[in-house]
């Protein structure tokens, strides 16, 4: 890789990180703004060069991000927008300026998408509702705070291990006076009968109408379906993605390390050849006869956590409605919107 390319890659990644520091901006929006900045600094002479540069930058961001799906959605949206932008202006420089303006305007407007979504959610929240939510989501927070102004709500939030973002939700809600309780991830089925409906945010809403979100969302959706409770997903339109995962293992975030079983040495003679890999030590409830397990860890090691997925895929038949700034859609409606927008 030439020096200039490396520099520009660094530059874009730094821009991206800087933008992420703003709490309001989610990764896709930050990506869009970072790509906008790239256009400002780009010396491409034709549309083709510009799109190539944008695609390369998007690749860089994707590779260095731990959670590329929502980022991908934002990048693809912006690149599609740039490609389809009508070329009325004669000079390319003018076109670039126009694109940059549009990009910035979109990002500014996108912040207001959350308000729109909060407003449409309000109609579905009755007084005295008990809501279950998962992990931390900016758009869900906005919806709950908005509802709190006019209605009484109480919220259960899951802990959302391993990142534990549920506690962040708990802090934020308690601070404004919404009664909130943190629920263990494993106690979702226990609490489901008490809940009126489930409200989750999203990393991405995919072409099938399904949802990609922090791991645990699929579980909650299945339990909600079994208990006949509505499951609502809130997603801004820039999170709509043309991805179509056929199953959990078809997600781009899935790799062979996730859920891999350790290859252990052969079981030799007797019990004292119990391998001492950390995988066994912590999960082994009954201590092996000879090896002393005095300090049995009761929390997962980082290596064990790395074997677990960060996001999961919820099938469209488990989702009742998707609330977005383009309207309140059924999962089928999402794919119709995507086909209409991206095809052709």
């Amino acid at each position: 890789m030439s020096q200039t390319t490396q520099d520009s890659n660094e530059a874009i990644y730094r821009a991206f990180e800087r933008l992420l520091e703003d709490e309001q901006l989610s990764p896709p929006l930050a990506a869009i703004l970072a790509l906008t900045e790239l256009i400002v600094g780009s010396n491409a002479g034709t549309m083709f060069e510009l799109v190539e540069a944008l695609k390369a930058a998007a690749e860089v961001l994707k590779k260095r991000s731990s959670n590329p799906i929502s980022l991908n959605a934002g990048c693809e949206l912006f690149i599609a927008f740039v490609t389809l932008f009508p070329h009325e202006s004669d000079s390319f420089a003018e076109l670039k300026t126009e694109l940059v303006q549009q990009g910035r305007r979109y990002a500014a407007e996108a912040i207001s998408f959350r308000d729109k979504i909060a407003e449409s959610t309000l109609g579905f929240i009755k007084d005295d509702s008990v809501i279950l939510t998962h992990s931390y989501s900016r758009v869900v927070m906005k919806a709950l705070l908005h509802a709190h102004k006019t209605k009484r709500i109480s919220v259960y939030v899951t802990e959302a291990r391993p990142r534990g973002l549920g506690l962040k939700t708990y802090e934020a809600l308690t601070a404004v006076g919404i009664p909130c309780t943190v629920v263990l991830d494993s106690a979702v089925a226990y609490v489901m009968d008490r809940v009126d409906f489930v409200l989750v945010g999203s990393e991405a809403v995919v072409e099938s109408g399904g949802l990609v979100n922090a791991v645990g969302s699929n579980q909650i959706a299945i339990i909600a379906k079994a208990a006949n409770k509505p499951f609502y997903a809130l997603a801004e339109s820039y999170k709509f993605h043309r991805l179509f995962p056929l199953s959990q293992y078809d997600l781009p975030t899935h790799n062979p390390d996730i859920l891999s079983l350790p290859s252990l040495p052969q079981r030799g003679s007797g019990t004292d050849s119990t391998p001492s890999s950390p995988a066994l030590r912590a999960t082994d409830g009954s201590p092996p006869s000879k090896t002393a397990v005095s300090s049995a860890r009761l929390t997962m090691t980082a290596e064990q956590i790395a074997r677990n997925p960060g996001v999961d895929y919820t099938r469209p038949d488990l989702i009742s409605l998707v609330f977005s700034d383009v309207g309140v859609l059924t999962p089928e409606g999402v794919s119709q919107y995507l086909v209409g927008m991206f095809a052709g």
Partner: protein, 450 residues
């Protein structure tokens, strides 16, 4: 529905007295369904017994049309023939009987008698182009099968017809050509019911013909039409298949076990394409009689070097737990997302769904049918009886494997069935991967492309 007290007819057991209801003519409304059928059959037997010249024919008919599986009143062999078609279909069945006579075709079927029974190709009525005659013979002998193959063959034959066509004086090509093509199309349909692909292509062709410029010299107009036909084949079939090959191929990962059913030309291309990309996967081909099309797919894939397993449909349950993905082709896809494909496809899809195996249907957009179909009965096609299809060497003599009609045996071979959209995970088309419920948004997407 209880029988009237005065009617001597006893369903389903006792032998019927050869006669009419004793208490005078009763209105048909007050009879039960069984009784109405009785009456009709007796009337038809009486009619059939009179004009038929060959004495053997009515007996053959009677012998062929005896005891039906459902709760029709059983008759003694002397009480006349008992064609058991439902009331509104009796007329059709009667004429079918009359025309086929001793040939013994499936005229006695209760169900599926409402769609095309395979008929021998009649002599060409009117001025049928030899290319079309040849094609019709190929269709009726199942030498050309598969939605794509039939459509391409039809369009190619029509190109010849158009080139050989001469506009009669005082007529314009754009108006007369269509009337010239209509009998050709009917001849093809008489050989085998039209596929949805042929229908869509012909509809597009008619549009092009009616839109062709009146002022163009004839040869130019004909060349333009042939060019349009070539473009249609190229864009909607060949290139569409390439896009599908790439998109669906991305869904195949190293180590996958892919299952497919019978032989779909698109799925064959997808698997060969993925293999040439270097992906390591194995294929399970599920096949079924009587067509045994999977054997051809097996030979193509194994000569390409793909590891294949071949089994028949009843054995599917034993292997389904090993399968990663199911790839299926389609004859057509309806706007509610239901897939109309080779008989047996629905079973494969439903079983896969039960075992949480993703079902991917590969289908070009020109196979899209505007209608909604809810079951396999309303529209289907029967295959002719006999072992026309399997041209591969058999382990047992052909006669032992071929079923023949007997006095108590009717053979039923529907060629297609309907897979409900709930059993399908994704449909891969050239405009992208789409969930089955959103198929109706394809014309919207296509409207932008065309």
């Amino acid at each position: 529905m209880s029988p009237g007290p005065s009617l001597p007819v006893q369903p389903p057991n006792g032998p019927q007295p050869n006669g009419e209801p004793s208490s005078g003519p009763r209105s048909q409304k007050s009879m039960t369904k069984a009784e109405r059928r009785e009456l009709q059959e007796r009337q038809r037997a009486a009619k059939a017994a009179k004009p038929t010249a060959a004495p053997g024919a009515p007996n053959a008919k009677q012998a062929a049309k005896s005891n039906q599986p459902t709760a029709a009143p059983k008759k003694g062999p002397d009480s006349g023939a008992a064609a058991a078609a439902k009331t509104p279909k009796d007329a059709k069945a009667a004429t079918a009987v009359a025309s086929e006579g001793v040939a013994g075709k499936a005229h006695g079927l209760r169900i599926f008698s409402h769609f095309g029974l395979p008929k021998p190709v009649s002599a060409a009525k009117g001025d049928i182009h030899p290319a079309v005659v040849r094609l019709a013979l190929q269709f009726s002998n199942f030498k050309i099968t598969g939605a794509n193959a039939r459509c391409i063959a039809t369009l190619t034959a029509f190109k010849t017809v158009i080139q050989d066509y001469a506009t009669p004086p005082n007529n314009t090509l754009s108006r007369h050509l269509m009337t010239h093509l209509s009998p050709q199309i009917s001849h093809l349909v008489a050989a085998r019911p039209m596929s949805v692909t042929m229908g869509n292509a012909i509809r597009q062709l008619k549009l092009e013909i009616s839109g062709s410029d009146i002022d163009l010299p004839e040869q130019d107009a004909k060349d333009a039409l042939c060019q349009k036909i070539d473009n249609y084949i190229r864009d909607r079939i060949i290139i569409a298949d390439q896009v599908i090959e790439e998109t669906a191929g991305n869904k195949i990962k190293d180590g996958d076990v892919v299952l497919t059913y019978a032989r779909s030309s698109v799925v064959e291309k997808v698997l060969l394409g993925a293999h040439s990309e270097g992906r390591q996967f194995s294929v399970i081909i599920v096949d079924s009689r009587p067509m045994l099309e999977g054997k051809r797919l097996l030979s193509v894939l194994s000569s390409a070097g793909i590891q294949c397993t071949y089994l028949l449909l009843p054995a599917l349950g034993s292997v389904i737990s090993e399968v990663s993905t199911v790839f299926l082709g389609a004859h057509s896809i309806h706007s509610n997302g239901a897939v109309y494909a080779r008989a047996g496809t629905a079973l494969v899809a439903m079983l896969a769904k039960q075992h949480s195996v993703p079902v991917v249907v590969c289908c070009e957009t020109y196979k899209f049918s505007e209608g909604v179909q809810l079951d396999s009965f309303t529209k289907n096609e029967l295959a002719p009886v006999g072992d026309l299809f399997s041209s591969f060497p058999l382990t047992k003599p052909r006669e032992a494997l071929t079923l023949h009609k007997g006095p108590n045996l009717e053979i039923l071979n529907p060629l297609y069935d309907l897979t409900p959209p709930t059993s399908i995970t994704a449909v891969v088309t050239e405009v992208g991967v789409i969930p089955p419920n959103s198929i109706s948004s394809i014309p919207l997407a296509l409207g932008r492309l065309l």
